[in-house]
């Protein structure tokens, strides 16, 4: 009763109803791709963001773009690479400052990747931690228990770290605050077939699946 009175007094003094329960919206950081930013509103800090899609759907390029953007902001990043698939040359070309990205090569071991990600988040100080399960078979990725995802979500909560998971399909389910689904729309070739043919890039579609299934971005990812 006294609490209610106190609250009433506060509200009357401050001139409005106070929202005691809801938490402030998390800070967001850009992904590095303007079209995606305008469609999804950026990546939330202190939350798990999940990027998923089939092979050649541009999810790795999206992740690399996020790394490039984070390192350009002088943030320290970590990439936990479960499948040892990171290509430093491509990342360097895409603008990632490799001297600010801690690369953990887990040698096709998802359990090691989860442990490493947990240690990195607990260690603190990183602006972005990415867990790349990209080429892992769907059955193996599904075997990762929800407890592990909850643990990661809990660890990153109330930190300024952006935690990103990349896989072929959605694994974190309710633990993810933001889900981005990537799909390839087209492949851009130039030149005549069997003569001067060149791969110029791919067009992808990035769709937000959570918290609401609104917001779609169409992006062309050039090869160079």
């Amino acid at each position: 009763m006294a609490g209610a009175l106190l609250k009433q007094q506060f509200e009357s003094e401050l001139g409005g109803l106070l929202d005691w329960q809801s938490r402030p919206a998390p800070d967001t950081v850009p992904t590095g791709i303007a079209a995606v930013d305008s469609a999804i509103g950026g990546l939330p800090r202190g939350s798990l963001t999940e990027i998923f899609g089939p092979a050649s759907s541009g999810r790795t390029s999206l992740l690399i773009s996020m790394l490039a953007s984070a390192t350009a902001r002088q943030e320290s990043c970590a990439l936990v690479d479960a499948e040892d698939a990171f290509d430093p040359a491509s990342a360097d070309t895409a603008g990632v400052h490799l001297d600010r990205v801690l690369w953990i090569r887990c040698g096709h071991n998802a359990e090691h990747a989860l442990k490493a990600a947990d240690l990195l988040i607990q260690g603190g100080g990183f602006g972005l931690v990415a867990l790349d399960l990209g080429d892992m078979p769907a059955a193996a990725a599904r075997r990762i228990s929800m407890v592990s995802w909850f643990r990661l979500r809990r660890a990153v909560e109330y930190t300024p770290t952006v935690l990103i998971s990349l896989a072929r399909q959605s694994n974190a389910k309710t633990c993810a605050s933001l889900m981005l689904e990537c799909a390839r729309e087209r492949v851009a070739w130039s030149g005549a077939p069997h003569c001067s043919r060149l791969l110029r890039g791919i067009g992808i579609r990035v769709a937000r699946r959570k918290p609401s299934a609104t917001g779609v971005a169409h992006v062309l990812l050039p090869l160079w």
Partner: protein, 451 residues
């Protein structure tokens, strides 16, 4: 005021913790080591002389040094008291002769001939020598006799012969029983680390390199020992972090035999002071990051975590890992983009606006298509027609070639022992993915997928 320490252990280090002017005099025969330091001025830090002595005694107990402590107005009186009395002795100014009177003459270490003469005279204690008339003593025993009398009376004034600070931070433990497990060893390491870091801290120093040498049972005769070196990216004094790093290192590289001797040394360096800016993003704390990295390396492997650095070569997938990850450097301006598919620099990349697409973001804000590597590359069976590959089969990859670009012929290092050459294709397969495939003398391989 002078303070003398007489006992066993690292007395010099203890003395240097209190004063920069330290004199060391070796014991005569089996007599223990004596270290004297100038304690003048310490009263401003600790108060009365007995408080100074109490502080020295407390620090000696912390560093496990067993020593007698004596404080006097001149160094020789302090030395005689420290050698003659156990525990803490405070000699008031002017009462030196009275205080030292009961000590045996042997403490003054007279020459054998002089000692024999004094014994024949029946003089065996300081008090008896101090009572002799100086003129008669000088006539019979010469200047040496007078010097001994002054010492016995506690009146001899002199300056200390200062010892140069050796700035060596080492410590060791001889074990009575061999240690076989790492857990009990951790207690010993903690003891050494605490001592070293405290000694470094008293000199306003830190360390970025710790060396550990473990003497092994049945290995000491031929001189072999298990040696490990721990390097940190920044100087630190965090003994707990050092201990954890050493434990992780020893778990990864365990000694091959039980341990009978532990030696540890620290390289002293100036501590690094950094003021972080208000608007600079927070970075992982270097020592904490090193600890995290060591824990991760214990899981994934020694050379599988760190910073990647591209090598100055066109050889595909050429990079090296830096095992240490800190401190993070300032961001440099990006000099230019290297193409992801061939490693050649493109000075004027084609404008994406010219490509046949619409409603796509601008080139600078659109990111770049990157490659996911297959490590090691997947051996592939390829059906080849006149226009190039038409069907690919590799592990988890199978499909008809829908479209392709290539071949791009590259080679290099033909002047070296490990030359390379390959023909590369960019393939769109019927499974919906884009791959980079190459052919070399060993066969066909799928290098990665564009994603």
């Amino acid at each position: 005021m002078y303070c003398c320490l007489c006992g066993k252990g690292d007395l010099v280090a203890l003395a240097f913790e209190f004063s920069p002017t330290v004199e060391r005099c070796a014991g005569h025969g089996p007599a223990p080591l004596c270290v004297t330091f100038d304690a003048s001025g310490l009263d401003r830090l600790f108060g009365l002389p007995q408080d100074v002595a109490a502080a020295v005694s407390r620090r000696a107990a912390e560093t496990r040094v067993k020593t007698n402590i004596a404080m006097a107005s001149n160094p020789d009186a302090a030395i005689c008291a420290a050698r003659g009395f156990s525990g803490v002795s405070m000699i008031p100014y002017g009462d030196e002769a009275k205080f030292l009177g009961e000590l045996p003459l042997g403490l003054l270490a007279p020459s054998a001939e002089l000692q024999e003469t004094l014994e024949r005279w029946g003089i065996r204690r300081f008090r008896e020598l101090a009572a002799l008339p100086p003129l008669g003593l000088a006539e019979r025993l010469g200047p040496e006799g007078l010097r001994l009398r002054e010492l016995a009376r506690g009146e001899r004034e002199r300056k200390l012969l200062p010892l140069e600070d050796a700035v060596r931070f080492e410590d060791e433990i001889d074990l009575e029983y061999p240690v076989e497990l790492l857990e009990p060893l951790a207690f010993l390491l903690a003891r050494l680390l605490n001592g070293l870091t405290t000694r470094l801290a008293t000199r306003a120093l830190a360390t970025n390199e710790l060396r550990l040498r473990l003497g092994l049972e049945n290995h000491t005769e031929n001189g072999t020992a298990h040696e490990r070196t721990l390097r940190l990216p920044v100087p630190s004094l965090d003994a707990k972090a050092f201990l954890k790093l050493m434990q992780l290192d020893l778990e990864a590289h365990p000694p091959p035999a039980p341990i009978v001797h532990v030696w540890m040394g620290a390289i002293p360096v100036k501590p690094q002071a950094a003021q972080s800016g208000l608007f600079i993003p927070a970075a992982p704390e270097p020592v904490k990051l090193e600890l995290t990295l060591a824990r991760i390396k214990a899981i994934v492997g020694e050379d599988r975590a760190g910073l990647a650095e591209r090598l100055n070569t066109h050889r595909p997938d050429a990079f090296r890992m830096h095992s240490s990850a800190g401190p993070w450097p300032a961001v440099r301006s990006h000099p230019g983009r290297l193409p992801g598919n061939s490693g050649r620099r493109i000075d004027n990349p084609p404008q994406v606006a010219n490509l046949p697409h619409k409603n796509f973001a601008d080139r600078e804000e659109a990111g770049l298509l990157t490659l996911r590597m297959f490590r090691p590359p997947l051996p592939a069976r390829v059906k080849v027609t006149a226009h190039g590959p038409s069907y690919i089969a590799a592990e988890n990859i199978r499909g008809k070639v829908i479209d392709l670009a290539g071949p791009w012929r590259t080679s290099g290092d033909w002047w070296a022992l490990d030359p390379w050459q390959r023909d590369e294709w960019d393939l769109a397969l019927s499974d919906g993915a884009l791959y980079r495939v190459y052919c070399e003398p060993r066969g066909w391989f799928v290098e990665g997928s564009y994603d």
